[in-house]
């Protein structure tokens, strides 16, 4: 079984951790949500959608993981993470808005590792 290119998940992990670091810095400096942070969340969202697309293509090829329902759950939940965090963070007019974004960045990184555990053909 050929493996999925690991470049995208690796990029997501790096981007997610970088986003978390930047957002936590904003929290520490008492900054609110701003446009650059939202743009970074948008970039993360696009990367996650690309990864979901790659995995869906893999499924369409006929390949199946051991736990298909779990994988499908992850495919649905993963792109929702940055969107939910952006909405929830934008509702906050304080330093804690970026803190919510930081959680989303960390979760994106963790999700890539979990996806690899669920289906090892997804390389990190």
């Amino acid at each position: 079984m050929s493996s999925v290119n690991g470049a995208v998940p690796t990029t997501i992990i790096v981007a997610g951790l970088a986003l978390a670091g930047y957002a936590l810095l904003m929290t520490a400096l008492n900054r609110r949500m701003n446009v650059p942070l939202l743009a970074a969340v948008g970039v993360l969202e696009i990367l996650l959608l690309v990864e979901v697309g790659i995995i869906v293509a893999k499924l369409a090829d006929g390949a199946r993981p051991a736990q298909l329902p779990t994988l499908i759950g992850y495919l649905i939940a993963t792109p929702l993470v940055p969107v939910a965090a952006a909405f929830w963070g934008l509702m906050e007019r304080s330093r804690w808005g970026p803190a919510v974004i930081a959680v989303a960045g960390l979760v994106a990184a963790v999700l890539m590792v979990r996806l690899h555990q669920i289906w090892p053909v997804i390389h990190v």
Partner: protein
Amino acid sequence: MSEPMTSPEPTASRPDSTKTGPGRLLVAVYGLFALSASARAGVQIATKFSHAPVAYLLSAFAGLVYILAAVTLSIGSPTARRIAVLSCSVELVGVLAVGTWSLADPASFPDATVWSSYGSGYGFVPLVLPVFGLLWLRRWARRNRTGGTTVTSAEDAGEAAAGGVARGEGGAPGRGAKDVVADGR
């Protein structure tokens, strides 16, 4: 500690409900755990319940407690806060008890729960989360006590003062700015 200059942005440190300010982060993380713990438990119970019934039932219970905490923290009424204190307490006791149990008797846990080994599989967030939740709720109860004028039943009176003007997000006017400053927020 109560000087106003600790907050450069006036709105930055004036949470007006349990779901704003630091509560925004708490509700987000509780929501995340509510979703992941209950979804995971649901799949496990539906597909392979007999494999590790104790672990899966405990995961489902943990999921319910997280849902309860997320919902009550985002509602933030006095009653909701009481339920939130209860669910955070149950959660703390749960993670300590199940954590100890899973280390003492690994045979009962062929598959991990959210609370196994004190939540080590989840970066110990399940252990830290209820502590922060309880601290946040205590800060709230205390703020309402000091924020009110002559308060007998602290939480209810504080909430009534805020709720009398407007509910939820707009509840801030009910609580005078000087009260907030006096409380160090």
